[in-house]
Point group: C2
Chain length 289, copies 2
């Protein structure tokens, strides 16, 4: 497809919905991938307040093939799906909807995107002690995905929000067989957890623009044999990752998870392997200096 004049009645449409949506990179990423593979798809963006009717429309509009879902709709949208996997119900949020001839299938690619980033970095997870900081939406998606799909040794979760922490811990205990420790995040609990951790997953917004001078982990706690993953990808290298890297740790940027979640969506939208490099390049162009 060279330009929009090639769009025909057979062209399949995908969209990202959210509110606000003005800064979404999803149209740029997915359209670049459609173009690269010469697929008869186009990707647009819609600001949405009324999720229920947006989905009623998706069902009724044939060729409206796929939807990426972002804040604030990732949780509420589940109830309008015809099918959601058990793990996504446990996580309690999804970021993708596929329209199979009027039947809406919902699922999340954030957790699988993070897991793929960790595996692609060559990190061995089996038997490892994983420390997760945070218990919000990203933490839920990633912890359930790791608990279900890897044989990690133990999962420690620290957060300042006690009720969210307890909820995630209880849900993981009920829905998986992972060995969990959870504790309120304090200087002391963090220090002890860092002594123990092989892999650190930072799943809070700390360090995100415009607060890029913050990091949750004092650099003195790092050990070179540790791996640090950060869900934050603006800036591309957070203070946390920059300090960890200069201490000799292996670091994995949130950008990898972000690209991967789009890659996994693309592959469900289209049924073909995504041109990962093209998608990554678009993200780097848009987010880079």
């Amino acid at each position: 497809m060279k330009d929009i004049r090639s769009i025909s009645p057979s062209t399949q449409v995908c969209s990202v919905i959210g509110n606000p949506i003005a800064h979404s990179l999803s149209p740029a990423i997915h359209n670049a991938a459609f173009l690269e593979l010469d697929l008869d798809f186009v990707y647009v963006a819609h600001r949405v307040e009324d999720v229920k009717n947006a989905l009623a429309g998706m069902r009724a509009l044939n060729n409206f093939r796929g939807m990426s879902v972002t804040i604030p709709h990732k949780t509420v949208i589940i109830k309008y799906m015809d099918e959601v996997t058990e793990v996504d119900r446990s996580i309690g949020s999804i970021n993708t909807v596929i329209n199979e001839h009027g039947k809406l299938l919902g699922f999340g690619t954030d957790g699988p995107g993070a897991l793929k980033a960790i595996i692609d970095a060559g990190v061995e997870i089996e038997g490892k002690r994983v420390l997760m900081l945070g218990s919000g939406g990203a933490a839920r998606a990633i912890s359930f995905t790791l608990a279900r799909n890897t044989r990690l040794g133990e999962l420690s979760i620290l957060d300042v929000n006690k009720s969210m922490l307890q909820q995630l811990s209880a849900d993981l205990s009920a829905g998986t067989d992972v060995f969990i420790k959870s504790e309120l995040l304090t200087d002391k609990s963090l220090g002890l957890a860092m002594e123990n951790a092989d892999i650190i997953l930072h799943c809070t917004p700390i360090g995100m623009q415009p607060n890029q001078d913050a990091s949750l982990i004092p650099a003195g706690l790092f050990r070179p044999e540790q791996v640090v993953f950060d869900v934050v990808y603006t800036p591309l290298e957070t203070k946390l990752l920059a300090e960890a890297r200069s201490c000799g740790l292996k670091v994995i940027s949130g950008i990898d998870m972000f690209v991967n979640q789009a890659v996994l969506q693309f592959e469900r939208f289209t049924g073909v392997d995504a041109p990962v490099d093209v998608m990554r390049r678009i993200v780097m162009e848009r987010l880079g200096p």
Copy 2:
């Protein structure tokens, strides 16, 4: 906008809905026009059975700016509009929906498109005796538009379908002040009407592919001072128009009405003057030999 990689969250989306929709030229026409004027719009197509929910979706999906509506939804869709002009209610069908921040405005551009084709051909309508053949959807749109917006002398309507003919005649009498004669279409009534007519508007499917060897008007009835307009545009020149032209009559092809209805939609979608020549060229390329 060079290619689909330029689509962003600010891009406005338009669509044609109908069933079937596979042969619609609307995406090609409108996208060529958006591209020509470098407008941040994209136009797709959706096969739709459930009109109500398709429109609920349009309301909920911000940036879903405009919709072209085709068979079989042009009549039923009126009841889901927030606003429809009186003339379009009288006609009983629309072909366009504009989404003004969740408020749906419906209107028809078939009648205005036909009127523009006649005016653009340099035909004077004021005081003229107009013969309309047919009383279906196109006939309704064109007759109401002419009756409301021109000072034609008299309007004769002939059709083989008595109930539709009577209904249109009654509706025109109630909704306009045009002087109407209506009669069942027979060889005799046609012969008499042709003796009287200045402008002949053919609004039936006769002559349309794959029945392009048919014409409703025997060539012997033509007089060179008459004008013949045909709503049919496949083939580009119907047998009716070919015979009329060889008898020296001025002829207006349905293609002009078809291009104009899209032009008028485009101008309502975008608020700017349409690149008419570009839109016509796309239609000719797609429909030409």
